[in-house]
């Protein structure tokens, strides 16, 4: 049991896919200007990685190793099409915000990375846990970045004004606080992730590169 729980807990911090393994940054940063989009993106990746890992793990003995990349891509692409259609059906506005980035889950390096590194060599249950763990690790970073960017950028969380009304000057705004619109621009996502990495590595010296 201890071994299995490590599969989920490790990627959350000390072996985080984004900040330590540097995987899956591609589709992660552009959509973190709002918390809601970050959460939906995390859930999509959770689904694709969890199910995909199980499927690949079940097929691991029949996939010829020469064409495994194409097989993996087809599995991911099918799962992503499911996610895309579900989003379009139940959250159309949000699927517009996410635009091509749902499709880009296919080439999210976390997914291919976990297929290659774990699912091809382990049983379905452990692969499932590994998929869930890594997707959670990815989601945690996405949600932290989304939280700070939305809070500092537009003063809202999930669309609810938590710092008061900027037009009527209530709450913090009465004290002269202003929203930092800069946080909503895409470059700030990179800088926020950079700062998260800084904080994490200052706390855990073993992670420092030379």
């Amino acid at each position: 049991m201890g071994k299995d729980s490590r599969l989920i807990l490790d990627p959350l911090a000390d072996n985080n896919p984004i900040t330590i393994q540097v995987l899956g940054i591609c589709s992660a940063l552009a959509i973190t200007a709002e918390l809601e989009a970050s959460i939906v993106m995390s859930i999509s990746v959770l689904f694709v990685l969890g199910v995909g890992n199980v499927v690949i793990s079940l097929m691991r003995n029949i996939i010829p190793s020469k064409i495994r990349i194409i097989v993996q891509l087809i599995v991911v692409a099918t799962l992503v099409i499911i996610v895309d259609l579900v989003l379009k059906a139940f959250a159309y506005e949000l699927s517009k915000t996410l635009s091509v980035f749902v499709g880009l889950i296919i080439t999210n390096c976390i997914i291919m990375g976990r297929f290659e590194a774990f699912a091809l060599g382990n049983g379905p249950w452990r692969s499932f846990l590994d998929g869930i763990g890594n997707a959670l690790g990815y989601g945690v970073i996405l949600i932290i970045v989304g939280f700070f960017r939305e809070l500092l950028g537009s003063g809202t969380l999930l669309g609810i004004q938590v710092l008061g009304d900027p037009i009527e000057k209530t709450g913090l705004y009465a004290l002269g606080y202003e929203n930092n619109g800069f946080m909503l621009l895409s470059p700030m996502a990179l800088i926020v992730v950079g700062i998260i990495i800084w904080v994490q590595r200052s706390r855990n010296k073993a992670l420092i590169e030379d």
Binding site: I69, L185, I191, R201, E209
Partner: protein
Amino acid sequence: MEHLELFFKSIFIDNMVFATFLGMCSYLAVSKKVSTAVGLGAAVIFVLAITVPLNWLLDQYILQPGALSWLGEDYVSYDLSFLSFIMFIATIATMVQLVEIIVEKFSPSLYNSLGIFLPLIAVNCAILGGSLFMQSREIETLGLALNYGIGSGIGWFLAILAIAAIREKIRYSNVPPALRGLGITFIITGLMAIGFMSFGGMLTGGDEEAKPENTSAAIETIKEDIEKVEEKLISNIEQKQDTNE
């Protein structure tokens, strides 16, 4: 003109790395040395120039709603666009494999410099992203699609070249230990992206869009002034008429 505009737009304004964060994984992983960065960048230009036009053809004649009309009347109502992800990625994976085989056969020297990067590229988000953006921006002709592919490839090449050069130099700087490596690269990329945002007004003509509003507002105020003057004149005339009577 249209071509030139799209070309510059895809290199600078919609730069793959700085505006949309595509291909970040290989951008961060392969940017430690300038020479390898050049190899990967060239391979990306090459593959984008092939896959974007190819996927444009697929999109135009197979996937779009009504695209199958060339098969006959019965097929006009078909909409296969939900298949685009799987079709695009399959095309890309096959093309990369094909390019690898062809290059290995005909130009071993090019294969030696590009070859090791080609398999990496199949799962580079920049390549799939190029095709998906091509689809969502509704690029009109095959020529423009080719142009878009090459342009975004060059944009990506420039980005990885720049960061590789910076990373080679920054090794001699005194970076806080916890920021060394990945952290500082993220922050530099963020700063470069802010720099690239200044290209935003280069072609869109932000002024042109703002002008009509300004002029129409100005015309409105002038009209109001004229009306006021007219009212004054009329009242003056009326007063004079009154006094005359």
